[in-house]
């Protein structure tokens, strides 16, 4: 990689420009390529695999279609053409018109089906993420600092306990206790804060577990490092030690796991949305998968891939800001 000379600039500007433009472009390029590959791969899988879902659906004896009607409908969905022609048409439609086609199940445009689910899922995933991060932080700090007698040991078992609790079971218990028995919220309401908070907690509990696990072990590891020993021997306070030495060093592995957690959030949102009856992207994907609604599935999986890659891209770009060693490496 070519070296880019970094002129002296104010600190903030130096931070932002501290990695090579080529590093950023390469990362973005990789992400775009991955999205295209995901789209094409899904297209090929669903088109080439035996048992075309549309014709299978049309040939169900229940529908009683004539061969001509079946052929007409296949022609309507352009399924009578070769795979490459279908792919070409799908890409042309997508790139030129932003049109993902028609949902086989809903009969509505795919964009409208997907768009209907996005805000609710982002809301749920966002809220869960914040709750999970807070929960993980509190558990980790508690487990790290509290003596075993005062519950520190018990707190250390929380991540494994949370991880072993199935999402739907947490949801059902929360609904039974807080909705049916205490009447604090109604499962028939799916808008507003109360409709968000309970599913968000449900989703956050298992999601917080890996974050807390990594954070606790990263804190443990950082404390045994020489710089900690030196800092402690210099008489540094516990709080200062945490903020100045332990947290920055434990942040990197935690950030990595946080990026991976996005996948858990999306997967978990499917189950949480199903249990709480929240209409969202998870429900859309679940229905599309069970109904073999290929156009919707294709759009939803591509969108998920984009989301996943964007988050990972952001994390990749944050690393150098957190770790001066990476900053130097990427600037080289």
């Amino acid at each position: 990689m070519a070296t880019v000379a970094i002129p002296r600039r104010p600190r903030s500007a130096r931070l932002a420009g501290s990695y090579n433009a080529r590093y950023v472009i390469a990362r973005i390029g990789q992400a775009v390529l991955a999205v295209v590959l995901v789209y094409v791969l899904i297209f090929i899988i669903v088109t080439v695999l035996p048992g075309n879902p549309v014709s299978a659906r049309l040939r169900s004896p229940e529908l009683n279609y004539t061969e001509k009607q079946i052929n007409d409908l296949l022609a309507y969905y352009r399924l009578d053409r070769p795979v490459w022609a279908q792919l070409g048409y799908a890409l042309e439609r997508l790139i030129l018109h932003g049109d993902w086609g028609l949902s086989l199940d809903a009969g509505r445009p795919v964009t409208s089906v997907i768009r209907g689910g996005i805000p609710s899922t982002l809301e749920l995933a966002g809220a869960s993420f914040v709750i999970a991060a807070l929960l993980a932080f509190v558990i980790s700090i508690g487990a790290f600092y509290l003596p075993a007698k005062l519950g520190g040991g018990v707190l250390r078992t929380f991540p494994s306990l949370f991880l072993s609790m199935p999402n739907f079971l947490i949801g059902l218990v929360i609904i039974d206790v807080f909705s049916f028995n205490l009447g604090w919220f109604k499962i028939t309401t799916y808008d507003g804060l109360s409709a968000l908070i309970y599913p968000a907690v449900t989703l956050a509990i298992p999601v917080s577990a890996p974050i807390a696990q990594i954070f606790i072990s990263a804190l443990d590891a950082a404390r045994t490092e020489q710089y900690s020993t030196v800092a402690i021997s210099k008489g540094i306070g516990r709080f200062t030690l945490l903020v100045r030495h332990l947290l920055p060093n434990a942040a990197l592995p935690t950030l990595t796991i946080t990026a991976i957690i996005v996948g858990d959030l999306l997967g978990g949102s499917m189950i949480t949305e199903a249990v709480f009856g929240r209409p969202g992207l998870g429900t859309v994907i679940e229905t599309a998968a069970t109904d073999q609604d290929v156009p919707v599935l294709q759009a939803a999986v591509t969108l998920t891939a984009v989301l996943f890659l964007v988050i990972n891209l952001i994390v990749d770009l944050i690393y150098p800001l957190l770790d001066p060693r990476l900053r130097r490496a990427t600037a080289r």
């Binding site: 040939r59 004896p61 039974d176 249990v275 009856g277 209409p279 109904d291």
Partner: protein
Amino acid sequence: MTFELDRRNLFSLGALFAGSGLLAACAGASGSPSQGTSDVNAQPKAGGEIFYLNAFENAGWAQSQVGSWHALQVWGLFAEYLFYANSKTEIAPHLATGYTHNADFTKFNIGIRKGVTFSNGEKLDAQTVALNLNLVGLGDSSRAIPRVANIPKVYKQATAVSDYEVEVALTDPFPAFIQQLAGSSNAAILAPATIKLPLAEQSDLKNTFATGPWVVESWKAGKEVVLKRRDDYNWPRPDAKHTGPAYLEKITIQQVSQNLLRVGALESGQAQVVHYTQPSAESRLQGEGFKIINAFASGSVWGLHIRVNARNTQDVRVREALNRAIDRQEIINTLYNSGWKVAQGPVNSQTPWAVDLTEHFKYDPARANRLLNEAGWTGRDKDGYRTKDGETLEFIEYPSVFITTSRDDLTLIAQQWKKVGVKLTLKNVDYDNYNTITAVTIKPPVPLYEIHWGADYPTFLWRWWHSGQQNQFGAPDKELDTLLEQVIAAKTDAEVYSLAKKVQQFVIENHYFIPVHEFPQNFSAAGNLKGISTDGYPRIRLYDAWLDA
């Protein structure tokens, strides 16, 4: 997703996780706000809003998508039909005034009710009905709109012969055309503004204009449909208890897919009507003052087709043994309650053309064992299942994805068959692949296929069993085909009914069919929701329903 837990099991699990103290404290708060202390003579009151919880809700609502038991209940609240089946399963006119036909049943003239309007202001007349019938009978491949499968393929064309009379022409005689039309849930009459739209826009409920007592106020795909009362409505069915607008001002239909959550919502007063209550919860609900509606109507029992093109199903002795090895009363006692009934033949006993054939398939394990021995299945494998030439006598089945009780039924049947040495293996399949994988044309054929379908009229037997139609037994039987052809050709109800009985007798005597128990559409409702009923389809009726404060 199917993770079903009984509500009481959930409580014990909840206690495990959340601490029994908390839940014990909460238990007192549980209750039924709507006890059934009904005043029978109370006067209906207009107004109020109810929540109706569905196990599954559509993502799109073009009329071709409303055939499932889940969807047709909702569709029937705001869309109306030319003819319907009343609670005695008699066909009666609603948006029609009646019909006549020519001597050879190739022309049907349908009178149309006057003074009816769609919710967008358009008028119901012969023109709009003809437009509807042609879409229903022929479909429109240029818009990917399928024809309605239950309408006979002999449908040719409908034309308006006057302002309020439509003539339907068929290419060949089909005496039961009107009955077949009345029995098709996706043949409601919609406004021209709706049916002229492309499929994508018809799937959007905000474009659905119909003639019912409620209109769609808003909807959310796969989640919710909100209906509001239509204040100028004044053309109820003849079987309604009042005229004018409906009483309930607003109905919110929501999907809650978990059985126990639907029941929990009903018990905690968050919902007033619930579709598909698990039978195990019914007795408890009844004890708490809720109404249980098990609407047994004209149509098939819950049973199994034996596909005679599958392996080891050709021998009638084996088929009879399968039938005789099922203790139906034990199934009712174990899985259901006193509101459910064992089957007496292929169709529910309420069906006007039902015939009691119990003698032919009465539980008789000794006879089943003898028949299987005679058929040569005399060996035994290490698990005790019968074998012949080293092959185990095994059948596979895919429990239905359209109802919520199949798996329990089949699990118990597997235990009962094991007693006579027959192995029943249950397999899983997802919602959409179910139809494909159980299709009669699939190779190798599945040996058993469930049925739980409505049938207003015996012509539906022809639809299911004729080798040129759905061919559910998997192999053409000339004698059966001839009988079924006679059913659709017969010209009077009496003639059709008597032939329909012969058909039932034939399929039972030949053990093509395993009847198990009668199959209702079931609902549970809050005690203070009065006037709720079902018709002969059965569809739920809320037009006369009202909330007693």
